[in-house]
Amino acid sequence: MTVLTKVREPQDGSRTGIRGERRRRRRFRLSPALLFLAPSFLILGVFVLWPILVSFWYSLHEWTIGADDQPWVGLGNYIALTQDPKFWGALLHTVEITVISVAGIVVLGLALALALARDNLGSRIIRSAFFFPTVVSLTSIGLVWRFLLDPDLGLVGAITSALGLGNVGFLQSPQLALPTIIFVNIWKNAGFVMIILIAGLKGVPAERYEAARLDGAGSWALLRYITLPALRPTMLFGTLIMTIQSFQLFDLVYVMTGGGPLFSTDTLVTMLFREGFVNFQTGYAAAISWALFLVIVIISALQLRIFRYNDVD
């Protein structure tokens, strides 16, 4: 036995020697990578990836936090959702907010970018003024605008009554509240698109303008045939970021109207917040979040297509 093992040992040893080295090399490569990844992936795993699965699981139950019995309802929550007029209202408002806001933000952002593209002190200061609202919290902005639009003590009310329109309660009227929120959303974000478009403008080679001008192009032709085509990828990107952001609009609505009056400004996320954290309908709220996810998945698919479209380099 001892002889045998002794005889075998060198052979085995040499073999494990190679394997050991290979294993050691792999271990050497693997372990630092794991250590570097560990904190982020632990957090992403516990608080993002796993919750994504759990969220779907909840949406199949009539889930209540802390209860012993969580009755399985299958697709019941989703069926209830399709029969809930508040859900369709919230979805409609979210789509309205997104489509109109994004159009307004991109058009206004483009106009500002073209007007302020020059790099002198004046336009840089003016640019900062337009960019500033994008870094301020939606909570502060919502509070200020709610106050500005207050029919009794707001500046806007004073202006409308001076113009003979009377004191309009913009946020108190079910017809005007949603357009008003869209207006404030555009007001806040136009500067964001302006900044990325100015960055995009800097990427347009000056020679193209020289060449076009030699061919006798006027300023309108320069804009139409050189500036706009060159800005197209940046504009698409700005559009997508703003679309995703508008779909998730919560703060502004929560602060300005709380979803009212008569649910006329309720969005998917304010509805989710109300069902999940006020009414504690956890399963139902999870189903709403998946409806939101579905919409965002469609947008992300679009985004991926555009990414691939632009990823020539």
Partner: protein, 294 residues
């Protein structure tokens, strides 16, 4: 707004030169400045009004809603902030939440990005894909399960509950990775020959070179966390644990509200971001521009 961008001829300058030459410039210029002027009034008046309202009396507000400036100045709003809200706590909580979370995010995201950009290991592609997946899933989808998790961990209404789930961001990992990939590999190889391990390469070579990326991620994260409403609203439940946006939103939601107090609170809550914005505007711009240029 670096000096480099200053020197570069831009589309605007050349287009303008053209217009000047063609002679039809006056109408274009006038309409452009009218547009910019009207825009400026819209952009600035709400902030001027907010600042002015925070120094006005309730009587003044109701009496002269059209006036942009106080008829009589008062600090009543700022006193009210201290009396009607646990304001010091709100400020403290916001600083802890935004500050600590940003620091942890910078560390964890850059470490994760280092592994994704610099270490060859099995499953690197999958790891990167997982990061991209979390980047695409809206935060609201995970909000409810995370709330339940925090409930079971007994972390609701605590600092760790506010901070830990937000202490890494897929976007930060992505941005750091893109930046690290652009740093020449020869630097690491030279360091490895000198006997440095991954931790020394990460800490002493890559991180010092990544200062612009660090500043960008820091500014974007800090601003987003400082301004966040939904997350602190969900995680905290007592006035003593709220952050500024959550505290102000709930205070503003009460039926009887002192408007000057509300505006004073809003002014104070945006002050740090405003100061940071004026001191480090180029990092805000760089952050936005990098999101735009992938």
């Amino acid at each position: 707004m670096s000096t480099e961008t200053l020197r570069r001829p831009t589309a605007g300058t050349s287009a303008r030169r053209d217009r000047r030459r063609s002679g039809s410039s006056t109408l274009g210029t006038v309409s452009r400045w009218v547009f910019v002027g009207v825009g400026l009034v819209f952009a600035l008046v709400p902030f001027i009004w907010m600042l002015s309202a925070s120094f006005r009396t309730e009587r003044d507000l109701f009496g002269n809603p059209a006036s942009l400036f106080p008829t009589e100045w008062t600090l009543h709003g700022y006193q009210g902030v201290w009396e009607q809200l646990p304001f010091l706590l709100l400020v403290f909580n916001t600083i802890v939440f935004a500050g600590v979370t940003t620091l942890l995010t910078l560390l964890f995201d850059s470490m994760c990005a280092y592994a994704l950009a610099r270490i060859d290991f099995r499953g690197r592609t999958i790891a990167f894909w997982l990061v991209l997946v979390t980047l695409m899933v809206p935060f609201q989808v995970t909000l409810i399960p995370v709330f339940v998790e925090l409930f079971h961990l007994d972390w609701l209404n605590t600092y760790q509950g506010l901070i830990i789930p937000r202490a890494t961001s897929a976007f930060g990992i992505f941005l750091f990775r893109q930046f690290f990939v652009s740093i020449p590999r020869e630097l690491d190889e030279a360091a490895r020959i000198d006997g440095a391990g991954h931790f020394r390469i990460y800490w002493q070579i890559i991180l010092p070179l990544a200062k612009p990326a660090i500043a960008t991620v820091a500014v974007l994260n800090f601003t987003a966390l400082w301004n966040d409403l939904l997350w602190p609203l969900v995680v905290t439940s007592t006035p003593e644990m709220r952050t500024l946006p959550a505290g102000l939103a709930l205070f503003g939601g009460q039926h009887v509200t002192d408007h000057a107090v509300l505006m004073a609170g809003a002014v104070i809550s945006l002050l740090p971001i405003a100061i940071a914005f004026f001191l480090a505007q180029r990092y805000f711009v760089a952050g936005v521009a990098t999101t735009g240029l992938k």
